[in-house]
């Protein structure tokens, strides 16, 4: 034991850099990933978005040309519009549905675990599996449309995956199915954190349950809502696999999304500069969403 202590004493050399050496060695992966990949990679991509790189990256500056081209490409504009529509609708519906389901589960029901398991299991599945199942259910020849027509409504039309105007609805049905369970679990955790006495007090005051939720509980759960909001939005920006599996961007370019634009531009059309400009725009979008949130968190901590 004494030798171990001597080793430890010996491992405290006067040079500051070598103090606590094992810990610094163990931190090497974190430093490499943080600086090398996250910071370095981001800077590299942003830098190369100002070049005319095509098949291979090179530093031939063209200023903002790639961005001008990007914002005059119809496919990119469609992608942005799709992401905005999908994003807003999915955000609102995920939050409402997630909270509603959590509130139902919080009403002291029987079989709570069973219901929670049912609502959450899609979250364990990949977007590829999700997309392929819903592609089959929404198949116009065999799926929901065919069944409702078979019931006698011959004029019933619901083929979102083959109709450019409805294709986002198809994506939403599948996306909500996969993702609401997560928000429900987070909301449920928030609801369970609320003091039982608050419920007792509102009951004594004779406030109806639905009103209690709106005027008392939801304002109290503001931090939970903010977290859920950040989580859902950062998931929406990443939307890619679901589109690939369900529609491959079609019909035509009706369901293209920015993440897919980046992938296709980088790896199939080999127009690197353009792909870097598009991915930089995605980064800017995330920053616009995150900076106010980070600022808010920071201010709350200081108070």
């Amino acid at each position: 034991m004494s030798s171990a202590r001597r080793v430890r004493d010996g491992a405290r050399p006067p040079i500051r850099l070598l103090r606590n050496l094992s810990s610094k060695i163990a931190a090497i992966p974190m430093v490499l990933v943080g600086l090398g990949v996250f910071v370095g990679g981001t800077l590299w991509t942003v830098l190369h978005s100002f070049t005319d790189s095509r098949l291979l990256p090179r530093l031939n500056w063209v200023g903002l040309d790639q961005y001008e081209r990007l914002w005059s490409t119809r496919r990119w504009l469609v992608s942005i519009e799709n992401l905005a529509v999908y994003g807003i609708v999915s955000l609102v519906l995920t939050m409402c549905l997630g909270f509603f389901l959590a509130a139902l589960l919080d009403r002291k029901i029987r079989y709570e675990d069973t219901f929670r398991t049912i609502f959450l299991y899609p979250f364990a599945l990949s977007f590829i599996v999700t997309g392929l199942v819903w592609q089959w259910i929404l198949n116009p020849e065999f799926g929901i449309q065919a069944i409702i027509r078979g019931l006698g409504f011959q004029n019933f039309n619901f083929d979102p995956l083959y109709n450019p105007d409805l294709v986002i609805i198809g994506l939403l049905i599948a996306g909500l199915w996969q993702g609401t369970g997560l928000i429900m679990v987070i909301m449920l955790a928030g609801l369970r954190g609320i003091d039982e006495d608050i419920w007792k007090a509102t009951r004594v005051d004779g406030i109806p349950i639905w009103k209690t939720y709106i005027i008392v509980i939801i304002p109290m759960m503001k931090p939970v809502f903010v977290t859920a909001l950040v989580l859902v939005t950062s998931g929406i920006v990443k939307l890619y696999d679901l589109v690939v599996a369900m529609t491959a961007g079609g019909p035509g370019i009706a369901s293209e999304v920015p993440a897919k634009y980046v992938y296709d531009t980088l790896f199939t059309r080999q127009n690197l500069g353009q792909g870097f400009a598009a991915s930089t725009m995605m980064l800017v979008t995330v920053a616009i969403i995150l900076i106010p949130w980070a600022y808010m968190q920071f201010r709350e901590k200081r108070q």
Binding site: P29, V37, F127, I128, L132, W136, I137, A146, V185, A189
Partner: protein, 297 residues
Amino acid sequence: MTAAVTTPRGARPKNPFAPRNIMLYGALIIFSIYYLLPLYVMLVTSLKDMAEIRVGNIFSPPVEITFQPWVKAWSEACTGINCDGLSRGFGNSVRILIPSLILSVSVAALTGYVLACWRFRGSEVFFGILLLGAFIPYQVLLYPLVIILREMGLFGSLWGLVLVHTVFAMPINVLLFRNYFVALPEELFKAARVDGAGFWGIFFRIVIPMSLPIFVVSGIIQVTGIWNDFLFGVVYTRPENYPMTVQLNNIVNSVQGVKEYNVNMAATMLTGLVPLAVYFFSGRLFVRGIAAGAVKG
């Protein structure tokens, strides 16, 4: 807040057939149908033959149960010129999953241990940078990682993909481990240091044995995340190394040949089985994992 998912308290509702209860359970059952429907449709479609699919509707149970589609999906379905079914993708996914799981969890645990117990000047700054990385869209880092892997000679190989999974798993898992280790009683470390244990001794003999639950939670996050990954698989591996999700998508969405919906659904179920099994067996730990990861992340 993380561990707040507890059972409801208080007395059970008295009259099970009160209008309020009928509405409550009615709503729960309607939503359950929406969530269960795809699983049911997948299962019944995969057990029918194509003749039955063409005449019947997708919700009707199979008249004659056949396991042929499952066999075909597993060992005969074609992607491009290869016709050896999903078994190849399954093998690849397992060979990607196991090293990725071990590497990412051990790196994250060690880093979390440094950040919780052996801080040094600047460690918190690096941690902040790491956490910011969780919010960078993957698309921004796709190409830089291609270059890094190419320089290391790993591009296209399974090990390259393993490294990519480890990198992107770091922020959330390090956070998870750090927060867990910070909460361990400090006296233990002091006692261990008095007894002469150093950095590694404390890690292996005190911290790890006390932290089994968080290893399980992190493992669950990693297994489902790695198994369900599509983007990294498609970018960083060659076709012969494609993981199961990529191969599944290629089988189902291939344009040539007659569409065999029953085989497609059997393949889809096969791909979903691993994460579903993890989900059903881990139960509350899964919930705890995603709630912890989500709320803090």
